[in-house]
Amino acid sequence: MSQEAYITGGLRTAVGKAGKGVFKGTRPDDLAIEVIQQLIKNTPGLDPSMVDDVIVGCANPEGEQGLQIGRLIAVRALGKDVPGMTVNRYCASGLETISIAVAKIRAGMGECYIAGGIESMSQIPMTGYKLAPNYNIAANTPDYLVGMGLTAEAVAKKYGITREASDAFSLRSHQLAAAAIDGGRFKAEIVPFTVKEVWVENDKRREREFVVDTDEGVRRDTSLEGLSKLRPVFAQGGIVTAGNSSQTSDAAAFVLVMSENFMKNLGLTPIARLAACSVAGVEPLYMGIGPVKAIPKALKQAGLTLNDIQQIELNEAFAAQSLAVVQELGINPDILNVNGGAIALGHPLGCSGTKLSIQLLNEMRRRDQRYGMVTACVGGGQGIAGIFERLN
């Protein structure tokens, strides 16, 4: 009765910079539909109506991302018969949706899922439109609601992470990301998206169309000197700057997850399976340290040790937080974020978990590796870690 779940495909859009980037005027559901329809096209024999559910991760599901966007994406991408839901575990949302799909299949509740995540940080402000924290929290435990930048400062202070190390880590992220883009390493996973823009210039209505197929966050002129000149943005005398924090971004990413029987009936071969996925809670003020608690939990679940993991995608929310995790777990930096991370490539909150999973699986194939991990810290004081076993 219980079947294993397999990932048989995964695609994403390029990642745009929030605010003035390529997707600033593009709705996140429009990005999602393009990706999902391409996934279906790439899967011979899969009729859209066979999809049991579309599970969409999103960290700020309101405004342009509101109105239960999961269903709106499903009905437009796959037709009225396919349901959809929206899942929010902040920055872990995109990995959480994969784990829900896997769990449902393993539990025998369904056969075929599209799981992923979206985020338009251009269109929805970081804390949403109405910030209305509970008075009791605000009065008694305000640390539960501290802004992310200040949690990074707190982690840096507690774990002794310096400004210099943070800036060096950021430079590395940009350099590796630039090399990955130049080497065409993301080409296959990105669905080119045609942006249609309408604007007014010199009192005239103007239109243009252009195709986006490359991540736009990398700064090729980044230098240690340039990074060291930036001012701390969250705290006076702090170490966290715009240069050693992740970029705000717009993107969508989705994977196709199916049961063994379903896959075999379609004559498909698996890419990977999710061997384990764990979440854990930590002190909200030290949100960034979340992976330190989530990773051992996931390893135990998979029956593996850190030494078995050949590659890690650790979401670079902040350099300070990433370095603290590396330091506390003794992670080998050589296997970490080998194609750069969110500091260079961007962090489209709800989408990042899926995006990193796709990126990891493609790089594992290139390197012929068996076990890889995606991990992230999560707002509110959590961590997530997912371990993939490659099968292709």
Binding site: L131, P133, Y135, A139, L150
Partner: protein, 798 residues
């Protein structure tokens, strides 16, 4: 001629050009600013408009970051379009006024004007901002229409802050154009306009530089130290803190010497030409390129060393040895004497009664100055008052030369000057001989000047437009107490003037406001203006009063005092006559609270408004926090979702004691409201404008009804503000005590910890505001802040 200026072309984007463009934009004009193509333009760049406009664009970006800010509000930069002479000069055909601010070379300027002559529409005004080139030379060869519409408009740097605008017509400039600029420059651009003749350096620099050069010489002759002379020639005699030598360092020695040499060359007939001899110590500075602040060294040198208070040690040049040494101000009796006298006229008289070396320097510099200006009439101006206006506005003197002379005594000083061998012009002696003993006098509240042409007193022009309260001193006040005077300023309007130290609000002002409103109501006055001619409208509540009661824990008395403060604010709004405030300079704390409650504020553009109470450990307790809650309630939509961001914005305004750097900016902070308040470009006009506003409102004025419909958010808002406060603290932007105060602000703004949003009355909000204020008065750290402010004049962060 009714001319309307809407579009202006500013040619040149140097420091001065950009400063003028920024100021004009701030005054509501649409500006086209042009400069040359970058000389090093690459072939690829030559096609890109952004690269071609690089010089102007860069200048604008620099201006947006400059301090003090050239713009009243950086949003006004969108009123400026940048271009270049090659591509955009033809656009000047759309301009109503073209201001030339290119390099100070006659040949270059003439080329520019030749092009303008071909492109401009007939009737377009054209002016030059030159500070030294004769205006008529620039107009040579131009068309008749050009010449009729051409004159000099000389702004001073920085254009926004320096009040003087010299208008210099040529013989060909039409009288209408001159009249237009005199009025437009004053009313729209907010400047003190002064009509000049086309004489070397016009008025302000001619006299100001003479005065500086004379003091240079006397310093050397009397063997005084430069820091002693700066102390003598600064605020002690109603002049800026820079005094004489610091001013030279600020201006730059190369510029100062250039101007002095220019005078020597261009004014060979000046009877005091010897004053323009450059002393040897100036030559020393020039030879060594010690130009002043811009080269790090001039008369003074700032060192890396710090003194006991942590301020950098400044060395002063010894004029004899030409070496820098630790500044040693001499203890002159005259300085002590001057320090103890509040009023300027008494201080000037004291100068002439003192006998030490310092007094001698001041006496001789004044006598030289009196003689010099007497001989400049009619050469540089037909009237003495224009010279006074120019020096007050251009050099920030509290009084002009002739006003100083009136203070010191015209006849006595004439005799003293002549005894020293100075030449006093005959018209002055004639004036004195005919029994006219002063250059100015007041007649029935109208200030008059002596006109040497008619040998009679004439009303100062624009008297009704500039209500100068000094003119009412001889009239019996309608009411007065130790801190206020209530004047009848005509047409049934009263003006309440503050006169406490720094116009701090104490018991007298509170009582004065209540009494004045009562007088206006009961005696049938049309309304009340609250305004004064001081540099600063008010620094806020008299802290000493609060400190005394707080230290002695007289809670009932304190509660009573705060109630009076709140009730006074409420009285400003809820009375049967209109009350209009006229503000300028600092409008802090209680001053801001009063103005938020008045029917209207006529705020000089240079009004610096802010609720600064947090700096002394308190919250605005005179109705200010309540009023922020009222305004929020009116601003936010009850169903929409923009409540919280605006709430956080307004909260931070009070919790971080933000002061608006102009009246325009005060609207952004919510201190002023577009529906009722207005910006007056010219500070000197604000009381007159307030009077007009009273008259406008008085017709059909109905007393407003106290509000019972103020919507407050309760815990929903409070949660957001507590988190915002916590964030400030974690980010090291606020101390624990700051947070305690911030939470009190939050509490009042949200109407307390109500579990749902609801409507409340103003009185309820006043009650919780007062309670919050009183609770902070019981905090040790608040008392420390108050004490520190009283002792040091700046806030303590604890």
């Amino acid at each position: 001629m009714l001319k309307r200026i809407h579009k202006v072309a500013v040619l040149g984007s140097g420091l001065m050009g950009t400063g003028i463009a920024a100021h004009l934009a701030g005054c509501g004009l649409e500006v086209l600013m042009l400069d040359i193509l970058p000389p090093d333009l690459s072939e690829a760049d030559a096609k890109k408009p952004a690269a071609r406009n690089r010089i102007g664009n860069n200048a604008l970006q620099t201006a947006l970051k400059a301090k003090p800010a050239p713009f009243f509000d950086n949003n006004f930069a969108s009123r400026i379009t940048v271009g270049n002479f090659e591509d955009d000069l033809s656009k000047i055909a759309d301009a109503d006024w073209i201001v030339e601010v290119v390099v100070e070379r006659l040949d270059v300027k003439k080329q520019v004007f030749e092009k303008i002559d071909k492109l401009r529409r007939k009737g377009t005004l054209v002016t030059s901002n030159t500070s030294g080139i004769p205006i008529h030379l620039m107009a040579e060869g131009r068309s008749e229409d050009f010449r009729a519409h051409f004159c000099g408009t000389h702004f001073f740097n920085p254009a926004r802050y320096m009040r003087l605008l010299e208008i210099i017509p040529t013989a060909d400039t039409s009288a209408e154009v001159v009249d237009f600029f005199m009025h437009f420059g004053d009313k729209i651009l907010g400047k003190q306009t002064v009509l000049c003749k086309d004489t070397p350096a016009f008025i302000a620099n001619r006299v100001g530089v003479y005065a500086m050069a004379k003091i240079f010489q006397l310093t050397h002759e009397l063997g005084l130290g430069i820091d002693t002379v700066d102390a003598l020639t600064g605020p002690a005699i109603g002049r800026p803190k820079t005094g004489t030598f610091r001013l030279a360092d600020l201006v730059g020695m190369d510029t100062a010497v250039h101007v002095i040499n220019g005078m020597r060359e261009n004014c060979p007939n000046d009877e005091q030409i010897g004053a323009f001899d450059v002393p040897k110590y100036l030559k020393f500075l020039i030879d060594n390129k010690f130009y002043g602040n811009k080269s790090g060294k001039g008369f003074y040198q700032k060192t890396a060393e710090k003194d006991a208070k942590g301020r950098p040690v400044v060395l002063a040049l010894n004029l004899e040895t030409l070496e820098y040494g630790v500044s040693q101000k001499e203890k002159l009796p005259v300085l002590d004497t001057l320090k103890q006298i509040d009023e300027l006229p008494q201080r000037i008289r004291a100068v002439f009664k003192s006998t030490d070396k310092g007094a001698e320097l001041l006496q001789r510099s004044f006598l030289g100055l009196f003689a010099y200006v007497s001989n400049r009439v009619p050469e540089i101006s037909d009237t003495p008052y224009a010279i006074d206006d120019a020096l007050r506005a251009g050099f920030a003197w509290d009084a002009g030369p002739f006003e100083y002379w009136d203070m010191a005594g015209v006849q006595a000083c004439t005799e003293a000057a002549e005894a020293r061998g100075e030449t006093i012009a005959p018209w002055v002696k004639e004036m004195v001989a005919s029994g006219h003993t002063t250059f100015y006098r007041s007649q029935n509240g109208v200030r008059q000047y002596y006109d040497p042409r008619t040998k009679t007193y004439q009303n100062l022009p624009g008297g009704a437009d500039f209500i100068v309260l000094n003119a009412y001193r001889e009239q019996k006040p309608v009411y007065e107490n130790s801190e206020v005077v209530l004047h009848d300023i005509g047409d049934g309007v009263l003006c309440l003037e503050f006169r406490s130290k720094m116009n701090a609000i104490g018991e007298g002002i509170l009582r004065g406001i209540n009494d004045s409103i009562q007088i206006a109501e009961e005696q049938g006055w049309k309304g009340l203006v609250i305004g004064n001619n001081a540099q600063h409208f008010t620094v806020g509540a008299n802290l000493m009063m609060i400190a005394m009661m707080a230290y002695q824990q007289e809670w009932d008395e304190l509660n009573q005092a705060i109630s009076i403060f709140q009730n006074t604010s409420m009285r400003l709004r809820y009375s049967s006559v209109p009350v209009v405030m006229a503000t300028q300079g600092y409008v802090f704390g209680g001053g801001c609270e009063f103005s938020m409650h008045a029917d209207a504020v006529m705020a000089a553009a240079e009004s610096y408004i802010g609720l600064v109470e947090v700096g002394v450990g308190l919250i605005p307790g005179g109705g200010g926090t309540k009023e922020f809650a009222v305004r929020l309630s009116d601003e936010i939509s009850r169903e929409g979702d923009v409540q919280i961001p605006r709430l956080i914005d307004r909260f931070k305004t009070i919790a971080t004691a933000q002061v608006a750097t102009s009246a325009h900016e005060a609207f952004n902070f919510g201190y002023l409201k577009h529906e009722k308040d207005h910006v007056v470009p010219n500070t000197a006009r604000n009381i007159a404008e307030a009077k007009s506003k009273v008259l406008e409102l008085a017709d059909g004025y109905v007393q407003p009804i106290q509000r019972k419909d103020v919507y407050v958010l309760g815990r929903t808002g409070l949660g957001a503000l507590y988190i915002a406060a916590h964030t400030l603290q974690l980010g090291n932007y606020a101390s624990e005590h700051d947070i305690k105060i911030a939470k009190k602000v939050a509490y009042v703004l949200c109407g307390g910890d109500l579990t749902s949003g609801q409507t409340v009355s103003e009185q309820y909000l006043l009650d919780i505001e007062r309670e919050a204020f009183l609770s902070l008065c019981g905090e040790q750290k608040t008392l420390e802040r108050i004490q520190f402010m009283l002792e040091n004049g700046k806030p303590l962060r604890n």
